[in-house]
């Protein structure tokens, strides 16, 4: 049986016209439709739609890709889905108003509880809460360093990046950034992170060890309200979802100067990259679509209709 799957994987890999390394799937939460859209990475078409619960937002995979987690905000829970069979496996209470989360290399989930001014840590196997960390108002973005030593939680109405040390789960530093920080991403070394500030229309590059901003860049015109940020594989470029500017802003990772603007759908918030770094998927909330960007050309190669107000996106490569 295992051999069969391997064979199938290899076959799909060889005949994949679009996403070279991803015979897998792209999962998208639709905030208003209360569903998760499942996109087949090979054909880039909708394969299935899962009824998930009220106001799904954050979405992520377990480190071994065997479980898909969805934050169902209005129902205060995380729903666990089998990303292969697409069956709902279980669910657990995840504190008040879970919005975004990130999965630690050890499998635990760090969640921002937007209306409770805290971050909580859950073991998704047992559904038990392991820790609770008091942070600022409206915590949103969660990022975990690849070595798992540090976690960033952004608090939107307190304008801070809270740097949390693990496994102690205590705040090591608080870094004031521009207004309404929404999202953060670590480099591979875990020493540098990028974060977006929505209202001030900025991206900051932060030395996480020294807790200092080392570069600030503007995402352009005043419509640009940056949300998600992701880093290219070679770490020379960052991609920023431009919100109501309806574009993805490509920036030099060092200078934070704009290299290119890629028009996508309306109110783009979510970004996810394929494992090989060749494709980026964007959620365009108002348009109800996902744009597929080829990072070689920095152009949109396909637009896929999903549910109402797509919010989060994650790529399962295999």
């Amino acid at each position: 049986m295992r051999f069969f799957w391997t064979l199938l994987t290899v076959t799909l890999f060889l005949f994949n016209p679009f996403v070279a390394n991803a015979d897998g799937r792209i999962f998208v939460t639709n905030e208003r439709s209360n569903t998760v859209s499942v996109i087949d990475a090979k054909s880039l078409t909708i394969e299935s739609t899962i009824e998930i619960g009220e106001r799904p937002r954050g979405i992520g995979l377990s480190p071994d890709n065997t479980e898909l987690y969805v934050a169902v905000s209005e129902e205060n829970k995380i729903v666990v889905v089998d990303p292969n069979t697409l069956k709902i496996l279980r669910e657990f209470e995840a504190g008040s108003d879970p919005e975004t989360f990130a999965v630690h290399p050890n499998g635990n989930i760090y969640i921002s509880n937007e209306d409770a001014a805290k971050a909580t840590v859950f073991d998704p196997k047992t559904g038990k809460q392991i820790a609770e960390i008091k942070v600022g108002l409206e915590p949103e973005g969660v990022a975990i360093s690849p070595d798992g030593k540090r976690v960033i939680v952004t608090s939107e109405s307190t304008n801070m990046l809270h740097v949390i040390k693990t496994p102690e789960n205590i705040i090591e530093n608080n870094i004031l950034v521009g207004s309404r920080p929404r999202s953060a991403a670590f480099t591979k070394s875990g020493n540098i992170a990028y974060a977006t500030a929505e209202i001030s229309g900025e991206v900051v590059k932060v030395d996480i060890v020294k807790a200092k901003i080392i570069q600030t860049g503007s995402t352009g015109d005043n419509k640009s309200k940056p949300k998600d940020v992701i880093i290219s594989k070679d770490e020379k470029t960052i991609y920023v979802a431009g919100g109501r500017a309806n574009k993805v802003v490509v920036m030099d990772a060092n200078t934070l100067e704009i290299i290119k603007e890629i028009p996508v759908g309306k109110r783009v918030w979510g970004l996810a990259m394929s494992g090989n770094g060749e494709y980026i998927f964007t959620t365009n909330g108002v348009s109800g679509t996902v744009s597929v960007i080829d990072t070689g050309k920095n152009e949109v190669i396909k637009t896929i209709k999903v549910g109402e107000f797509p919010w989060g996106v994650v790529v399962k490569d295999n």
Binding site: D115, L137, S157, T158, N174, S179, I199
Partner: protein, 268 residues
């Protein structure tokens, strides 16, 4: 021996500097007005949120409530800002008395106060002209609509307004209205400035707020003040207890769209 001494000195320096870092900055606000006014609830919400931020930065925010009849004898030197619901002549007199302190006008909508450009009054509440312009824009698009122009509404959800409405209601068991939003915004923009700049002197605060502010009022755009002292902001159009539109109205207002609402200049 020398090395030992240097080490010892270094330890002393480190201890002293870490103590300095740990020193708490205390910031005092004064509210002048009725204790039952909804603006005061917003002020309190703002103080709570400022203290939540302050716990990470060693900053503490205090509020004193001063009744209108005690203004004359009160010593105002320690306050970073005054938040008030007093109107017209009383507001002008207050501004004359306290020239170097930011005075946040939370309730008075008169156009005249904006035209006068009184240097230390910051109008959080939109002027009548701003509201009238908002309605006019909306009615150009939908002539039969009898919507009410407001600066805030509890049904407003966009731009994280939903979150602010939710936490206010949780704390005070009542909906956030225009006045409570104004009280909240005044405190929050001041404490944001303290957090970012460490300014704790009222005169410097006034100068910063008037010239360099970039504030997230949970109404979308980045907020700052006009020369008139008026806070630039969008105006909500409310019908049947629901926000039905926002002004500047898209397709009607000319860019820069926020300047299509209200008075832009001082009287000569």
């Amino acid at each position: 021996m020398l090395i030992k001494n240097i080490r010892f000195l270094l330890i002393i320096v480190m201890v002293v500097s870490s103590n300095l870092n740990a020193e708490i900055i205390e910031v005092d606000f004064a509210y002048i007005g009725h204790e039952e006014h909804p603006a005061l609830l917003g002020v309190k919400q703002g103080i709570d949120e400022s203290n939540l931020q302050g716990q990470f930065l060693n900053q503490k925010y205090n509020l004193e409530i001063i009744s209108e009849n005690k203004i004359q004898k009160h010593n105002f030197t320690k306050y970073i800002a005054i938040l008030t619901t007093v109107k017209s002549e009383e507001l002008k007199n207050l501004a004359k008395k306290l020239t170097d302190i930011p005075i946040f006008n939370l309730t008075d909508e008169s156009n005249e106060l904006r035209i006068n450009c009184i240097t230390n009054i910051l109008h959080i509440t939109p002027s009548s002209k701003m509201k009238a312009d908002a309605l006019k824009q909306w009615q150009t698009k939908t002539p039969d609509s009898k919507a009410n122009p407001q600066s805030w509404h509890y049904s407003f959800k966009k731009f994280a307004a939903r979150d602010l409405n939710k936490r206010f209601k949780k704390n005070y068991k009542t909906n956030m209205d225009d006045y409570s939003w104004a009280g909240w915004a005044a405190v929050k923009m001041t404490s944001d400035t303290v957090a970012r700049t460490k300014i704790i002197n009222a005169k410097n605060m006034l100068n910063y707020l008037k010239t360099k502010l970039s504030f997230d009022g949970q109404k979308g755009s980045d907020m700052n003040f006009r020369v008139t002292g008026q806070l630039r902001q969008l105006v909500l159009l409310v019908e049947d207890n629901k926000v039905i539109a926002e002004a500047p109205v898209r397709g009607i207002a000319k860019p820069p769209t926020l300047e299509s609402l209200g008075i832009l200049d001082c009287s000569k």
